[in-house]
């Protein structure tokens, strides 16, 4: 039941976000545009072409991209929190952000053209960077043959710090027009297009199916490793699959949107405060809550200093944190 309500709210939020922007468009123009696109009704006077372009080629792909990235971050944040049994876990815990950031820095600094052979270099490079960083962290924990979950976390932190340091050096040593790089690092949907939406969707679909398949096991993983194993859960195997799936989702999201913080951390906690600790509920609701959150944040980043655009990562923390604090206080006072 709550999923249906959640998805409805998400759809309404998407429509709402599409109807607001730097260029004022009447709500009935938007409705007319949707209706005529869906071929439900032919209007006598066609809608202004530029307005159509703004709605269908600028705003809508961007809003949907924000929704997909929000879902990816929310879902992978929830998964990481479950797998690592750590409420402070966010999707960037084991190095995705630093790895992607380093790849992006290398690409921008090297001055390579961003489009080679019709391939967009930046998303590919940052994707590889993110995955590589996590693989390194995972390898380290494998080599150390440690049984503790904290080894991966610490390895990830170390790799992340190292990658960030390398990025820093590259930025310092390069020609100082770093604005495009910095705005990528802070995250944003300013160049949201349909081909990005289409490119990103398979990763989210695929990853979320895998993760949800093991939702019940995540519940059991909340006990200690030995307990879980004694209940029949193949701890190391499932942990590996879940980490890889969430990293896939996170790396693909980051490669199209930059590094947006707070969504992956706050969405699962918000869901937990309202709906409890069952991961079969937390996982899908984190995705939905993450989506709504990021669509709204992107909307605010677009209109707060119009026509200037603020980085989304700033907005998610600025507006998300007070709301989250309110939720913490409120749920503490609730008599359960």
């Amino acid at each position: 039941m709550k999923y249906i309500v959640g998805i409805l709210i998400l759809l309404l939020t998407i429509i709402f976000a599409t109807s607001i922007g730097s260029v004022p468009i009447d709500f009935d123009t938007i409705l007319k545009s949707i209706v005529s696109k869906l071929q439900l009704w032919n209007f006598d006077e066609p809608i202004n072409e530029i307005t159509e372009t703004v709605i269908w080629n600028i705003r809508l792909p961007r809003v949907i991209l924000a929704a997909i990235v929000g879902a990816s971050l929310g879902l992978s944040g929830a998964t990481y929190q479950g797998v690592f049994r750590n409420p402070l876990a966010d999707p960037y815990l084991i190095g995705v952000a630093s790895g992607s950031g380093l790849a992006a820095t290398i690409i921008f600094v090297s001055g390579l053209p961003l489009i080679i052979f019709n391939l967009n270099l930046l998303p590919i490079g940052t994707f590889i960077g993110g995955i590589t960083a996590v693989m390194c962290a995972y390898m380290i924990s494998k080599i150390s043959q440690s049984r503790s979950i904290t080894t991966i976390i610490l390895a990830g932190v170390a790799i992340g710090a190292f990658a960030s340091a390398l990025s820093g050096i590259l930025i310092l040593k390069s020609d100082p027009d770093v604005r495009p790089l910095l705005s990528w690092l802070m995250g944003g949907f300013i160049s949201g297009q349909w081909n990005k939406v289409i490119f990103l969707s398979p990763y989210l679909c695929f990853g979320s199916i895998i993760i949800y398949f093991y939702a019940r096991s995540i519940n059991i993983l909340q006990l200690s490793d030995d307990h879980a194993a004694s209940l029949g859960v193949n701890v190391r195997y499932i942990r590996f699959i879940l980490i890889m799936a969430s990293t896939l989702i996170t790396a693909s999201a980051v490669s199209f949107s930059g590094i947006i913080g707070f969504v992956g951390l706050a969405s699962p906690h918000t869901v937990r405060l309202i709906w409890g600790e069952d991961y079969r509920k937390i996982l899908p609701m984190s995705a939905i809550v993450g989506s709504i959150f990021l669509v709204v944040s992107d909307l605010i980043s677009r209109i707060i200093m119009s026509p200037s655009e603020l980085p989304v990562g700033v907005i998610t923390a600025l507006f998300g944190a007070p709301f989250f604090i309110y939720l913490l206080i409120y749920s503490g006072k609730k008599i359960k």
């Binding site: 703004v54 020609d175 026509p307």
Partner: protein
């Protein structure tokens, strides 16, 4: 270890599927016809003007008669109001600024420059000069060991450190608001290095060429709209030096509603439909379905700027201004001189 084979396999399959889907989506936005981008115009020859023909902008120097030698001790005020005293012309200058280096060479004082930072590349002689730092850091030890009598910087981060080791520091932050201050900046260097006549030539040349542009454009009342994209939709808004250039050239900057540099919303670009777009990457507009209605695409009005001219506020800045004027108003510049 077997699991590690699955991962690359899955990723490859996913990449394959997504690329296919994306290709289909991309082919829907039908390829736009091959367009020729406006080529960079030939660099204009500096116009030799007889000073008497153009009304002098700066009346002060005429009123005082000919001043050709600096009177020392000379007191220069930096932008914060602090005073730096020069007892003699400095002979060993470390100029940590590309514009300052170009100015010094232009007024014949290039030999006095003993060091600079590693991103200075003009004029060609600078390849011989010692480099003591890069964009954000300075090698203080190297600077001290070179024994300069003046260190010029344009951002304040290292000022205290340099003064603590006993160096004379002149800090003048980059001019970002008023075009006319640039010629005074040339004159300042002439005063400091006792090269007043050369710097006066440089400054007057700049002012005269600006005045010439103003005269030529006085007959125009329309204001073509323009948008500059310095990368990822970052654009100079109101109160930037580039905006002043636009104002001089009677160009309506669509970004002028906000101050400073900021990221412009693509919706606004698509709706306001600027007649000219200055960018290094016209492809990002041509291949983007969001901008398919832009008139710049149909009329070939992309301008790829010479980055050096527009970002170094020195003697070559006027070339950037003239190139842009030449691009937007080709009718004027066809007149023979």
């Amino acid at each position: 270890m077997k699991q590690f084979i699955y991962i690359p396999l899955i990723i490859i399959i996913l990449l394959g599927c997504s690329t296919k889907l994306a290709e289909q989506a991309q082919s829907d936005t039908t390829a736009l016809p091959q367009l020729k981008i406006l080529n960079q115009p030939q660099p204009l020859q500096p116009v030799q003007l007889k000073l008497q023909e153009i009304p002098s902008v700066n009346n002060e120097s005429k009123a005082n008669g000919k001043i050709t030698q600096t009177v020392y001790p000379l007191v220069i005020k930096d932008r914060n109001g602090e005073k730096i005293t020069f007892d003699v012309a400095p002979q060993r200058i470390i100029a940590f600024d590309a514009a300052a280096v170009e100015i010094l060479f232009a007024i014949g004082q290039g030999s006095k420059v003993i060091a600079t930072h590693s991103f200075v590349s003009y004029p060609l002689e600078v390849s011989e000069i010692t480099k003591v730092g890069d964009a954000f850091s300075m090698d203080i030890e190297a600077i001290v060991s070179l024994n300069p009598d003046l260190v010029y910087i344009f951002y304040p981060t290292f000022k205290e450190e340099l003064e603590k080791v006993g160096l004379k520091v002149l800090l003048i932050e980059t001019i970002d608001d008023d075009l006319t201050k640039l010629s005074d900046h040339f004159r300042m260097w002439g005063q400091i290095t006792d090269a007043i006549d050369k710097s006066e030539n440089l400054a007057s040349d700049f002012e005269n060429r600006i005045q010439l542009i103003k005269q030529e454009l006085s007959q125009y009342s329309s204001e073509p709209s323009i948008f500059q994209d310095v990368g990822d939709f970052w654009t100079p808004g109101n109160n930037t030096l580039i905006n002043e250039v636009f104002n001089l050239l009677k160009l309506d900057n669509i970004s002028k509603s906000n101050d400073g540099y900021y990221q412009m919303s693509p919706e606004v670009i698509a709706t306001m439909n600027p007649q000219y777009i200055i960018t290094n990457t016209p492809d990002s507009y041509i291949n983007n379905p969001a901008f398919k209605n832009l008139s710049v695409i149909k009329s070939n009005s992309f301008y790829i700027p010479n980055n050096d001219y527009f970002s170094i506020f020195g003697p070559r800045f006027i070339l950037g201004i003239e190139e842009l004027a030449n691009t937007v108003y080709p009718a004027i510049y066809k007149k023979p001189r």
